[in-house]
Symmetry: C2
Subunit: 303 residues, 2 copies
């Protein structure tokens, strides 16, 4: 349907993935997945809604558009394999935007072994829009859902939280490698990537699992970026800021303790931040008291 | 990433497809394809570029957005299985638009046994945009590419051509059933769906196959819609109008003859319209003379 054919562009791309047999000049790409199960996710990013193209430039936008999808595969403990990309390009500067976007995507695709096998490139009178669909295969323990947390499980999180608006929301590294590495050492009962903010996303695990979670205020790893906001609400930022793109996951206490003791994730630190409890909902334990925390996200009038 | 979560919506959808195990409330859907190979295609439709939402309404737009993807699966001789859908909705009237779009999509998805397993729904200040990624499995003879035509092959086409702007470009039935039925009776060497216009699309088969095609002017099935345009250029319309969404395919003369004799496709008539020749390029045979036809599409100054 596009004026110029993105699929032609990938003719020159090195696809380091033997699952991809064709996908050039045809109406579909043909994939030959090695795994019996396929993960699929899709995310659309819109200029003026999720970013301002004129401020951040097309390279970072292209990178982020792929990175948010990679983070969804990571959240399932999966390994990304294949992507298709659709673009709506403003007529003015369409080629330069497309080239920047692909530059940003390709670097990340190569880093994570993703083959971009096709897409649909259009120009129009509207603002820039990009939609990526990413396929993956499950990791060693199979797809890790949101719904498997058990009462008594420890909640662990990778990295540090809050203040991602400073830089990380664009330049984060999706936790694909970490999600896979974890499965050599434990069997996560439930996992999610933190895109809506810690409280909101742990709320999703709680709801899907049919239990609740207590978060320990003094154990939440607050990022330097959250402290640097210097507004006296660093913990709020760690609880409620979106787009940290870290992983939160529930494991047995024994496995959680072993992970904390061994810290197996190279440069990414694991922290124990909460506990799965039978009471539905989210709770914050702070200064010896336990208070309800709205599952929809942290409210500032709550502190 | 969306303000409201499309995946919640499909919780109430009947998914008549045992390949889909989950996909509700998680970061990815998990598919269990039965076939070793997976087809994947994606198309984005943009308000003001591919349609005018205010004129045609969201139901027909939703239907078409899925139908163009179904047509790409049909072009490979495949059977569609699973779709994900991303929407950018203008803030004003977002809910009504989304509901109309899903209504149009769901009707067609049900007709073709497609499970819509997830997506990403956003609002923004731009015009309406929809991007669908569709997966499928190959038909009985495997994926049918554009590149397999052999010299001497007959070129056949389903249905009638031209004038789709009148109505058919929105309300066409993708030739999925026909593409599959054909494979009970022949082994197409190459196939494509006619989205860019007959001349342009046969040009793709010619180029990918490394040969050329002669089209027989008096054998091309011109649609009533092309005649109804009543501009004395009905053949031009059949050769150059886009969005017929019929199938063109190359078969051996023996198989072609049998298909013409048996007309096995219920209400969809097959016509023999051309021949694969060793000379690269496209040619039109008319009134006993053979003239080159630009492979990029029929030019009106050519007649």
């Amino acid at each position: 349907m596009g004026e110029f054919d993105y699929i032609r562009w990938v003719r020159t791309q090195t696809v380091g993935n033997d699952r991809v047999r064709i996908g050039i000049g045809d109406d579909c790409a043909v994939l030959t997945p090695k795994h019996r199960e396929t993960l699929i996710t899709t995310d659309m990013l819109l200029d003026g809604r999720h970013f301002r193209l004129a401020e951040v430039g097309p390279v970072r936008v292209g990178r982020k558009a792929l990175a948010v999808n990679l983070s969804d595969i990571a959240a399932m403990g999966g390994r990304p394999t294949t992507a298709v990309v659709s673009l709506g390009l403003p007529r003015h500067g369409a080629n330069a935007i497309a080239e920047g976007v692909f530059q940003g995507m390709h670097a990340l695709a190569e880093e994570f072994g993703v083959a971009i096998v096709g897409g649909d490139t259009n120009t129009w009178d509207g603002p820039f829009v990009i939609s990526i669909t990413l396929l993956g295969e499950p990791g060693p323990v199979g797809p890790i859902l949101r719904s498997g947390a058990e009462v008594g499980d420890w909640l662990l999180v990778t990295g540090t939280l809050g203040g991602s608006i400073q830089r990380k929301h664009f330049d984060f590294t999706p936790r694909v490698r970490e999600g896979l590495l974890l499965q050599d050492l434990c069997r996560p009962h439930a996992m999610i990537d933190l895109s809506d903010g810690l409280a909101g996303d742990v709320g999703h695990i709680a709801e899907e699992s049919g239990h609740g979670f207590v978060l320990f205020a003094d154990r939440i790893p607050i990022s330097d970026a959250a402290h640097a906001l210097n507004d006296g609400r660093a913990l709020d930022h760690a609880l409620s800021d979106g787009e940290d793109f870290e992983l939160a996951f529930a494991v047995t206490p024994a496995e959680g303790q072993r992970l904390l003791d061994t810290q197996p994730l190279a440069n990414v630190r694991l922290a124990w931040i909460g506990l799965c409890v039978p009471e539905a909902g989210l709770y914050l334990e702070q200064d010896g008291a336990r208070r309800p925390l709205p599952a929809t996200g942290f409210r500032h009038d709550f502190t």
